[in-house]
């Protein structure tokens, strides 16, 4: 009896205690949060917040230990939440709640009157709409606008997140920065740093970018209004971010709520969601978590080295490729200087007549490349004995022009030439060179002593090299020791190779699954190599690479990367001991070979001592581009301008548009909107309709057609505003898919601009089929061009059945076209009138095509008369939009090149049969243009590819094959919303340099044969 009563009391006691406590554990991508909530009062009685540095399990166990010590006798209804908690919950058997759901529960409990909640975490961004139709949204697979993004950006600015926050509060202006992805943002931020924009302004721009991404990318048009709750670490810790959100959303203090317990808020939600089934004491929980096994779900690769011997053989082999040194203090004779002014690092080298090293230096330029070079040159001169005669100096890299004008260097050369010169020194038979730097990957094949083809990485895979450095930093290690850890890792993890953002999230997953630092280090090295091999080089067999491979660039100094490369390609390669300095070394060799009278034009030791300059930021008002420019003024009054897209910014007269068909094309299309030849007033008092046509996608090239068509019907034709970044932002909130191409994204802005102009209806036809030009087996449009009208209709609330018409037509079939148009116009026009108007339309289109060909011929003739090199810039018609091509045509002009386009030349070529299915009208033109270029000695081809264009994954390979089969260079430029002309310029100049070299080689061959 007694026993029973005791039992009963215990039972009651237990019941009371257990009823009273909930434990929520939130394991995010960077932190572990724990909260205990009393069930009766819903009071938070305990909470903790710890960074886990990817040691998830240990951190959770430590947290539980604290809980156990504080509440040794309690039992908790427990739930785990968070992206990193998922695996842990599954393996330990503890109840799991999805974190958005957890947030939802907590909000309903504590902030029942909130309308929207915005939560930014380490890698995920979420929005919960609570009123007016609950909806919960999470960002897609690209991790833009999150804590990880902020970390990355802070690293780039060389500050920590807290410092970045403080900086941002002092900002004076905001620059537009691509926010959807860290890699892209980096491409926007780096030029700003290089141009010397104020750090405070850049910092503020970064926070603003996060806001834009959340407001437009995540909310996708749904208004964030009412009482808004802001949750998650970044929003709690960063004042600047909070300010940016509040200002952008126009909230007052009553409507913007920043909960005191924001960092642990989700764990509160988890606690409240805990189920009765999972009730444990802290000790039981510890046991459960401790016994959770690491999963074998992480893919693993092979170890880099089987054993120590293999490693030692490897080290010994690479030791052979070293340079000799000479003492700068005692050396007597001529010396040559090479400077490699890269986007993130600066390299200098001084060599002797026989290529011994007198002085070398490698340093991150921290946004002040010029200061660093000047400082180092002073140091170098100070070291120099009296016998050193610096005869000549060459500079290469991003900062080439700046250094040249500031320091009066003798030569400025393209990076590829510099690297090639340096590689030749180490292996005169070199036939393949790969350079992996911090930001870029460059490869070139060498044939007959000249560069035969160049492969550079695209924006998406940039930053691989520096990623390993950033990561090492995060692990509190220097990059060398971090890399060394990977050498003997037993089972390197597979981390994917798409981009650093995906790699970052793969690393975190691997860590959560218990992968060791060693395995991650090796995995990172191998990912970088895979990115280079699969995405940049794209060789299918090791044989394609060549026999004599030289690898260089700072990233190859890492033995694990070097080994991965050898393993991946199955080739033994040469890595010079100065791998990181090859650009500077090559430049120095170039200076040596080309020094004329042993008298350098460079600033002397004396002049350097007094060297000063002033830097000023300004906006160029030369044209509508409004480039942010930076003006450096030197002592002698000379100036250097950077950031400008054309010569106008540098105060020079721009090349006339006469050399650029792209400019002509765009203006020719815009001219079709002119009033004068249309809009005949209707006589019978009928309404005159105002029709808006977006100048983008299908209605870009077909603008002459539809413009003439509607004018013939007596309508007033209104064309959308010219594309620019602002126009894109205007429509960004209706963009449905992050990864669609930039032309499509711009389309949303075009539609907004037309609606704002008050047109009666916007016209965008749906055309599965383009016009049949009888050059391909079918004549489709790509799915985006064909059906974008459907997407616009579904995602822009301002559009409806009457103000947006997108009839389905196949322009090759007249009767059905007339019928479908008639139906879509809902009786506005008669079938007969439509038919007649189509005649006008088609003849206007034919006229346009004729003009393009005529102008092409003119440019061609004139270029040939003046012996100008010619480039056929091939892409889609809408790549003629200057916001899409970022002025690449102008850039080519400024390099002295005449620019033609694919539709101006394709008809001069025979039909082309290709290996792939040739079934898209626009793409068929490119194959023929390629064939045409191959038959012209003075022409090169450059293909423009929009990021995200799936079809170009197919055409690029095919066009490259056509070019290479004919012994021509293939150059591809990937374009997106980011504008990084610096890289494009290097690429184009490399191409030109290679062509010149090849021509020299050809002449040499011809002479030899004679």
């Amino acid at each position: 009896m007694c026993y029973n009563i005791n039992n009963f009391i215990n039972f009651i006691l237990e019941k009371v205690i257990t009823m009273a406590n909930f434990l929520g554990i939130d394991v995010g991508s960077t932190t572990v949060k724990m909260t205990i909530v009393e069930s009766e009062t819903k009071k938070i009685v305990y909470s903790s917040y710890e960074r886990h540095f990817s040691r998830v399990k240990e951190c959770v166990l430590a947290g539980l230990e604290k809980v156990r010590q504080a509440y040794p006798n309690l039992r908790f209804k427990t739930a785990i939440t968070g992206s990193a908690g998922l695996g842990l919950a599954q393996k330990s058997g503890v109840h799991f709640v999805q974190e958005v759901q957890a947030a939802f529960v907590a909000i309903k409990k504590y902030y029942a009157d909130a309308d929207v909640a915005v939560e930014l975490g380490g890698e995920d961004a979420k929005i919960i709409f609570l009123t007016g139709g609950t909806e919960q949204r999470m960002n897609g697979s690209c991790a833009g606008g999150t804590g990880a993004f902020l970390d990355q950006m802070a690293t780039l600015l060389n500050v920590n997140v807290q410092e970045m926050d403080e900086l941002a509060l002092q900002a004076e202006k905001v620059y537009p920065i691509a926010s959807r992805c860290g890699v892209f943002a980096k491409s926007d931020v780096q030029p700003l740093i290089n141009q010397g924009a104020a750090k405070a302004d850049i910092a503020a721009s970064i926070f603003q970018a996060v806001v834009e991404q959340t407001v437009s990318g995540l909310a996708q048009g749904r208004k964030i209004k009412g009482k808004v709750l802001f949750l998650g670490g970044p929003l709690y810790f960063s004042k600047a971010l909070r300010k940016a959100f509040v200002t952008t959303l126009g909230l007052d203090s009553e409507h913007a709520i920043f909960p005191e317990n924001a960092p642990i808020f989700i764990s509160v939600g988890a606690a409240l969601s805990a189920k009765a089934e999972t009730e444990y004491s802290a000790e039981e929980l510890q046991q459960k978590i401790a016994s959770a096994k690491a999963s074998d779900e992480v893919a693993r690769g092979e170890a880099l080295f089987k054993n120590r011997e293999e490693y030692e053989e490897f080290v010994a082999r690479h030791k052979r490729s070293d340079l000799q040194f000479a003492d700068i203090r005692t050396y007597q004779g001529n010396a040559y200087l090479g400077i490699d002014s890269g986007s993130t690092t600066t390299k200098l080298m001084l060599i002797t007549e026989d290529c011994r090293v007198l002085y070398s230096h490698y340093q991150a330029n921290n946004g002040q490349p010029l200061d660093i070079v000047v400082e180092r040159l002073k140091e170098m001169y100070a070291l120099c004995g009296s016998g050193v005669n610096v005869c000549a100096g060459a500079v290469t890299g991003y900062g080439e022009d700046m250094m040249k004008s500031a320091l009066k260097m003798d030569f400025g050369i393209v990076e590829t030439v510099a690297h090639f010169k340096a590689a030749l020194h180490f292996n005169p038979k070199v036939d393949f060179i790969i350079d992996i730097g911090g930001q870029d990957i460059k490869c070139f094949k060498v044939k007959n002593g000249a560069i035969d083809s160049i492969m550079l990485n695209e924006a998406c895979s940039s930053g691989c090299g520096s990623f390993i450095q950033t990561f090492a930093k995060a692990m509190d290690m220097d990059v060398e020791s971090f890399a060394r850890l990977g050498l003997f890792a037993p089972a390197p993890v597979e981390l994917g190779s798409r981009c650093t953002v995906f790699m970052n999230s793969a690393v975190k997953q691997a860590q959560k699954e218990g992968a060791s630092v060693e395995d991650i280090s090796a995995g990172l090295s191998s990912s970088i190599v895979k990115n280079a091999v699969y995405k940049v080089i794209r060789a299918r067999t090791p044989e394609e690479l060549g026999e004599h491979i030289v690898v260089q660039g700072g990233t190859f100094m890492n033995d694990a990367v070097l080994r991965s490369f050898e393993k991946e390609t199955g080739k033994e390669v040469v890595r010079p001991a100065i791998a990181g300095l090859m650009g500077a070394f090559g430049a120095a060799i170039y200076a040596k070979e080309n020094a004329v009278n042993k008298q350098s034009s460079m600033l002397s030791k004396e002049l350097l001592e007094t060297f000063t300059y002033t830097s000023k930021c300004a906006v160029c008002h030369g044209c509508t581009s409004h480039c942010n420019i930076n003006i450096l003024t030197f002592e002698d009054g000379s100036k250097y301008v950077s950031g400008n897209k054309c010569e106008r910014g540098a105060g020079q007269k721009p090349q006339s548009g006469d050399w650029n068909i792209y400019e002509y094309k765009y203006n020719r299309l815009l001219a079709c909107a002119d009033e004068k030849d249309g809009g005949r007033a209707t006589t019978n008092g009928e309404k005159t309709w105002t029709v808006g046509i977006p100048l983008q996608l299908i209605t870009f090239e077909q603008f002459p057609l539809w413009s003439a068509f509607f004018k013939a019907l007596g309508c007033k034709v209104v064309v959308s505003d010219k594309s620019n970044r602002e126009l894109y932002f205007r429509g960004q909130h209706t963009v449905a898919s992050d990864t669609v191409c930039y032309p499509a994204k711009l389309m949303h802005g075009h539609i907004e601009s037309l609606l704002d102009k008050g047109v009666d209806f916007v016209f965008y036809p749906s055309e599965s089929y383009n016009l049949d030009e009888h050059a391909s087996i079918n004549h489709y449009n790509c799915p985006i061009v064909a059906y974008y009208g459907e997407l616009l209709k579904a995602n822009n609330e301002r559009l409806n059945e009457t103000n947006f018409l997108s009839p389905y037509v196949d322009l090759n079939e007249r009767a059905s076209t007339v019928r479908n148009l008639h139906k879509s116009f809902q009786g506005k026009f008669t079938k007969k009138a439509i038919d007649r108007a189509l005649d006008m339309g088609f003849s206007a289109l034919a006229e346009y095509h004729k003009d393009i060909v005529k102008k092409s011929d003119e440019i061609l003739e004139k270029a040939r008369a003046e012996k100008k090199p010619i480039v056929v810039l091939t892409g889609r018609p809408y790549h003629a939009d200057p916001e899409i091509n970022h002025g690449i045509g102008k850039l080519l002009n400024s390099l002295g090149i005449a620019v033609l386009c694919e539709d101006g030349v394709c008809e001069k070529a025979p039909l082309v049969e290709v290996n792939v299915l040739n079934q898209w009208t626009y793409h068929a033109r490119m194959y023929r243009a390629a064939e045409y270029v191959c038959r012209q000695k003075d022409m090169q081809l450059v293909q423009l590819v929009s990021f995200g264009c799936g079809i170009d994954a197919i055409t690029t390979d095919e066009i490259r094959a056509i070019m290479e089969e004919n012994g021509k260079l293939y150059t591809q430029i990937k374009i997106d919303e980011i504008n990084n002309l610096g890289v494009v310029k290097i690429r184009l100049r490399s191409m030109l340099a290679a062509v010149t070299e090849q021509e020299k080689g050809a002449k040499y061959d011809a002479n030899n044969q004679l």
């Binding site: 992206s83 990193a84 998922l86 709640v97 999805q98 974190e99 958005v100 759901q101 139709g133 919960q136 999470m138 697979s141 996708q220 597979e494 994917g496 190779s497 798409r498 981009c499 995906f502 999230s505 793969a506 997953q509 699969y534 995405k535 299918r540 449905a736 898919s737 990864t739 499509a744 749906s766 599965s768 089929y769 799915p783 985006i784 064909a786 059906y787 459907e790 579904a794 995602n795 389905y808 037509v809 196949d810 079939e813 059905s816 025979p910 039909l911 082309v912 049969e913 290709v914 290996n915 299915l917 898209w920 064939e931 799936g950 079809i951 170009d952 994954a953 197919i954 390979d957 095919e958």
Partner: protein, 423 residues
Amino acid sequence: MQTISYKKATPVFTEEMKSTYKILIPNMLPYHFEILCEIFRQKGYDIEVLTTEDRAIIDEALKHVHNDTCYPALCVIGQFIDALKSGKYDPDKTAVLITQSGGGCRASNYVPLLRRALSAEFPQVPVLSLNFSGLEKGNGLEVDLKTLLKLAYGIFYADAVMSLYNQCKPYEKIVGQTEQVRDECIAYVKSTLCGRKCRKYKTIVKKLLVAFSKIERTNEKKVKVGIVGEIYVKYSPLANSGLEKFLYAENCEPVVPALMDFVMYCIVNNINDAKLYNHNKLVAFAYNLVYKHLLKVQRKVIRMFQETGFEPPHDFEELRRLADKVLHQGVKMGEGWLIPAEMLALYESGTENIVCAQPFGCLPNHIVGKGAARAVKALHEDVNIVPIDYDPSATKVNQENRLKLMLATARERLEEKNAGKKI
């Protein structure tokens, strides 16, 4: 006009090879392909469906295919190369087969992409195309009208088995019974493919229904999750990281729309083109005959399902009607209007939770997946759609976490509903 050819010679699959070569096909739908292969086996082909799923597949693909190509192409091509390298098959006596849709999506380029990928290490392996658009003449399996009809019936039966399996498995009382019945049914269907027996669809479907209805099931209410999306990623466990398995483990009932829907979608597109653009009316007439017949069979199957108390396949005319609510049936590239149509059909048949599985950067899916989801939501506020991107570099945690969010909402609604009923 003069034509210049850059076409590389590729090995052709000759008549003699039929008896001496093994033909490999990728694994998209395990039961379907097993059944369809049987039809070709009876015609004398030696066909094998690849069921490999290891990581090496993706690694091979990344090495041999442009990395921006869509994920299904990477999976399929990688699987072939991985198989050819495994040593299990003699590359000199092996051919590979894939289907080719011939639409405006880049998927119709898988055959050339596969050829290019093989040319580096297995240039001798012929690539066969299974298509009905007249592409790759002389390099496909011979498909006469009789075979075509058999294939159609095969798809109906496989669809039935797949649907019944999914409806029974989550509720089975005796663990493993559903698998057993499924295997028996597949064996049975295969046995009917000889001769004309397979056309007796009423008898065959009846048998399948009876077999599955014998499985003892609980009355539990479980969360139903529909799977729509790009055709390969939607079905293939290799591409969607075992999505169905994941859903089973989460105690859900996966609802996977029939493959026949896609077949009929392709047929109807030809009919639509004729109607919209006056394209070849004669061809359309023939397609219309086929369509009418398939529809007749489908409707009978639907009735039989209903009579046995199982959730039937979607009526295709109904799907077309539903598509019209969201977008025009002119959207015919990739899975086109079928995706929003299936979303609506799932919703209306009580499956409010939907995964839209798509390859990262899939062009048609920008329009018909992510792009159309909003329009579907505008019609039904409580539809619970989650788009998931699949890609060699996408992490599983990222995908599963989004699925979990969808499931959390789904469970909450189910609880609300159950509670509502009790009151």
